[in-house]
Amino acid sequence: MTGQLTAEAAYDAAARVVDPELPVLTIAELGILRGVRVDDSGCVEVDLTPTYSGCPALEAIREDVKDALRVVGAGDVSIRTILAPAWSTDWISAVGQRKLAEAGIAPPHPRGEGPVSVGISVRCPRCGSPDTQELSRFGPTSCTALRTCAACGEPFEHVKAL
């Protein structure tokens, strides 16, 4: 082992893990990586929070985080699942928002009251037109809705404000 693993290095390694359901984002950009601690013996403890209660990707993420940390020299890695404060789309970082748009996925609006953000148009991530309509309020993954653009015809996903 080459020297002691620092908390920064451990965080950076964990932060690079991507979300398997929205693979354009890392778990740090998605806002579900809540903390990384390293003790004197090189054991790492990581706090993760699920995006939604039934998120079946969390187990895969846990495995990936463990692998990523072992690669950088961590000893035992333990992952804690933190429920509070609950994740919301507000936790997606500015970089994350930009990467979503670049990947053709409309980022979420800031979260308002109630489950449905009324009145704010969702812009087409491809042509920028605000003339888009909801095709399905539930998308392939639980945090997205499916929309189409009336201007360019593009179907696209929109991360719902949660």
Binding site: P20, E21, P23, G54, P56, A57, E59, A60, G104, R126, L135, S136, F138, G139, P140, T141, S142, L146, T148, C152, G153, E154, P155, E157
Partner: protein, 308 residues
């Protein structure tokens, strides 16, 4: 004509064709057929996997399976929307599916007999699908290419989960290991057949290649799949049911036994184990849902009048 030259120029430059561009009718028809078949495969594919949702043996696996089937429905929606950019409605495409005029992937005409089949589908069927689809991410038609980018990423996750399911079984009790091996035994050749008939017997190939829709031949993709899958089977500790499978250092590829293409053609023509069941299930869901769709339209019509 100018339009044709422009189209050819875009293709030659490896640029994307977009919905508002001009393109030949044959290109449009070929794309519609391919995207529709892909969309149909996603929604019919929900059935064999949905068959195990209520019976999944852990809550985690149940959640993974539901999420996967949800993805498939979502992919179906996404792909029908991509097809709609070519001027054909989802309702029309569903009609074509229900009357048998358009096909879906024959692989879904095999039954899921045990829980291990869910793993085998993830590992082998999704693996084959990805091998087929990755080149499509560079397909000449923009909306389809972009849809494939999203879909391939999710399929990779599914494949990984299928692999993980099988690995757990393979390393589990002797009964579980046997269950996993049995599933691989049954799904291996149908998965190889997913790449279509051998190039010598294939139709559609040349046009699709010229139009930048299909970039590799069936046999090339099949070989790529075998080369990728065999090492994974060793990690899994499961045997590929092919006595002639072996590494050929001269070719730099695995030699393998071809699937039974007569069986493939039989299944395509309708005589697979589940063809009738899958279509009946699909048509029943559609027909039993008719009153719901009508009600939604009636409600929308009423209330759009109120607003206007």
């Amino acid at each position: 004509s100018d339009q044709e030259r422009q189209f050819e120029a875009l293709l030659a430059a490896d640029e994307r064709i977009e919905p508002r561009d001009q393109f030949p009718e044959g290109y449009r028809r070929t794309l519609i057929r391919q995207i529709a078949q892909h969309a149909h495969s996603e929604i019919i594919g929900m059935q064999p996997e949905g068959n195990w949702i209520t019976r999944a043996p852990s809550l985690r696996r149940k959640a993974i399976l539901i999420a996967k089937v949800q993805d498939e429905a979502g992919h179906g929606l996404y792909l029908y929307a991509a097809a709609e950019t070519l001027g054909v409605s989802r309702a029309e495409l569903l009609d074509q599916l229900h009357t048998g005029a358009q096909k879906y992937s024959s692989i879904f005409n095999y039954p899921t007999l045990t829980w291990a089949d869910i793993g085998a589908i993830g590992w082998l069927v999704d693996g084959a699908a990805i091998t087929n689809q990755v080149p499509l991410c560079r397909c000449s038609y923009g909306p389809y290419a972009r849809a494939m980018v999203r879909i391939c990423k999710e399929e990779s996750f599914h494949q990984r989960q299928g692999f993980d399911l099988l690995l757990t079984l393979s390393r589990g009790t002797p009964e579980q290991h046997a269950m996993a091996q049995d599933a691989v035994d049954r799904w291996w050749y149908p998965s190889l057949a997913m790449f279509g008939p051998p190039d010598a017997r294939s139709t559609h190939g040349e046009e699709s290649a010229a139009w930048g829709i299909k970039r590799f031949s069936n046999d090339e993709l099949r070989q790529r799949f075998v080369d990728m899958t065999v090492p994974q089977s060793e990690v899994l500790g499961l045997r590929i049911p092919d006595p002639h499978l072996r590494w050929n250092p001269d070719r730099g590829h695995y030699d393998f036994t071809q699937p039974d293409y007569d069986e493939l053609f039989r299944v395509i023509k309708g005589d697979g184990p589940c063809n009738q069941q899958r279509m009946e299930h699909r048509v029943r869901a559609h027909e039993e849902g008719a009153w719901v769709r009508e009600a939604a339209l009636a409600y929308a019509a009423k209330h759009s009048r109120e607003v206007s």
